[in-house]
C-alpha cells in the first residue's frame, strides 16, 4: 500500500493503491484484474454522488490499466478528499493516475483530469474554484489520455452548446500538456537519486 497525495490549489486528494492482490472469489475475473475504486468524502459517509464518481473513475482507470497481465487479482484504489475548493473530480483523476504510477502498475498510457467552467457570458475558465463553479452555466470535466490526447471520460453539469463543448475540449487538451509535464518532472525528481 503506497499513499500519494495530489493538491491542486486548495483542493487536495490522497490516493492509496493496493494491489495487485488476491481477490475474493466473488469479485475475481478469470482473465483480468478487477479494479475497485473507493472515494471517501471529507465529511460524512460516502453517498450516491461518491458512488457515481467511483464508477466514472473506475471506468477511466480500467481503460489504461493493463489488467490482462494480472488475472484473478484485485487492484483497490482508495481516494480520500482532504480539502475541496473546486475542480474536485479532475483532482481525483490526477491523484488516481499518480497513485497508479507511484505503485508501478502496468499502464498503456497515462491520463489526467481537467475541469472547465463555462461562465454565463461564454468565457471558459480552467480549474475553476468552488465559487466559479457555482456561478458557471456549465462545468465540464474531461479525462485526457497521454498518448494521443484523446478523451477517456467526459462529464458535464449544466447545459452548453456543441461548439462550446468542443472549445472546452480543445482547451482541456492543451492544459493536459502542462499536467503531463508535471507528472514527468515529479517522477524524474523522485527517481533521480534512488
Amino acid at each position: 500500500p503506497i499513499p500519494s497525495s495530489l493538491s491542486a490549489g486548495e483542493t487536495s486528494v490522497l490516493a492509496g493503491l493496493y494491489g495487485p492482490a488476491e481477490a475474493k472469489l466473488s469479485k475475481e475475473l478469470p482473465d483480468r484484474a478487477a479494479l475497485e475504486v473507493l472515494l471517501r468524502p471529507k465529511v460524512g459517509l460516502p453517498g450516491v454522488l461518491e458512488r457515481s464518481r467511483e464508477q466514472q473513475l473506475r471506468q477511466t482507470c480500467e481503460a489504461v490499466v493493463l489488467g490482462v497481465l494480472h488475472p484473478r487479482t484485485a487492484i483497490t484504489l482508495v481516494l480520500q478528499v482532504v480539502s475541496d475548493a473546486g475542480s474536485l473530480l479532475s483532482c481525483c483523476l490526477n491523484a488516481a493516475c499518480m497513485g497508479l504510477l507511484d505503485a508501478g502498475l502496468p499502464l498503456s498510457s497515462l491520463f489526467c483530469g481537467v475541469t472547465c467552467a463555462l461562465g454565463p457570458d461564454g468565457t471558459i475558465t480552467l480549474d475553476p474554484t468552488a465559487r466559479q463553479e457555482q456561478e458557471a452555466r456549465a462545468v465540464l470535466t474531461f479525462a485526457i489520455d497521454s498518448s494521443e490526447r484523446k478523451v477517456l471520460m467526459a462529464t458535464t453539469k449544466g447545459s452548453c452548446s456543441v461548439e462550446e463543448m468542443q472549445q472546452c475540449l480543445v482547451m482541456a487538451q492543451r492544459a493536459a500538456d502542462t499536467i503531463f509535464q508535471f507528472y514527468r518532472d515529479s517522477l524524474h525528481r523522485r527517481y533521480s537519486k534512488s
Binding site: 480549474d127 480543445v170 482547451m171 523522485r190
Partner: protein
Amino acid sequence: QVWQIRLDMHLLNHDGNITDAASIAGIVALCHFRRPDVSVQGEEVTVYTPEERDPVPLSIHHMPICVSFAFFHQGTYLLVDPSEREERVMDGLLVIAMNKHREICTIQSSGVVMLVQDQILRCSKITAVKVAEITELIQKALENDHKARKEGGKFGFAESIPNQRITAFKMESAAIDTNNVEEQAGEIITKADPPSEVFVNPILHTPGTAQIGEGIGNSWGDLEESEKEEAAEEEGESEAAAFECQKTETEDTSMMTETKKDEPILLSDSEEEEVVILEPQEVPRKTR
C-alpha cells in the same frame, strides 16, 4: 434549539497507536473549528452567515490528550507510544487521557497484564510530561494558522507538506496558450459527422412529471389473441415474438377507430392498467 457538532475522522495511515493520534486530531479540529454566530432575543433566534458576521470558536474548556503505554512480559517492560509491530505483540495496553492541568480525564486498561499501583502512577507522570509538550505544539500550530489566515498567507493541507523532500514536487499555476481555440474547435465540428436525429419533444403531464417517447405497448393482452391467431392461421413457421406482437398490434389498430395525431396517445387498451400520476406533496423545508 441546539447546535449539533459532527467530527469525522479519516485514518490515512496506520502505523500503531491510532488512539493518541486520533485524540490529538480530534481536539485540534474542535479548537480550530468556527461556528456561525447566533443572537437570541427572547423567542427570536437569528443565525448569521459567515459573510455577515465572523464565525466564532467553540468554547473548549480544556484539551484532553491520550497517551498509550504498551506492557510486555507481565509488566516488566513498558513502551510509550507503541508502533504497529509493538502493538501486535504487546501483553497489555494502558491509555491515560490527561490535560495540561495534570487532571486525568480517562484511564483505560486492557490486555492480560495486571498492573501495580506505582506502575500506574509512573505512567501518569510520563503522561503529564508528554501532554505538556504536545499541548504546546498544538498551541503553536493553531497560532501559526491564525496568523497566516489574518495576513493572507497560504494555509491548509497542501501547504503543510514539506516541499524540500525528494518525494514532494510542486509546480506553480501555469498559463495555457489559448490562441486559435475557436478555430480548431470549429474545424473539428465541420469534419465530424452530423449529429443523430433529435428526439421528440417531451409531453408534460403535470408539474414534475414528463414523458419522452411513447414506449412499447403492453403485450400481455396480446398473448391470448396471438394463440387464437396461430390456431386460425395455418402458418407453420414460428416467427420471432417481436414480429408477432407487431402483427397483432397492427391488426388491433385496424380494428380500432383511426386515431388522429392530435388525440392523446393510448399506451394500451387494457382496462386493468391505469396510469396514476402522483403529485408531490409540499414538504416543509428543514433548515440544516
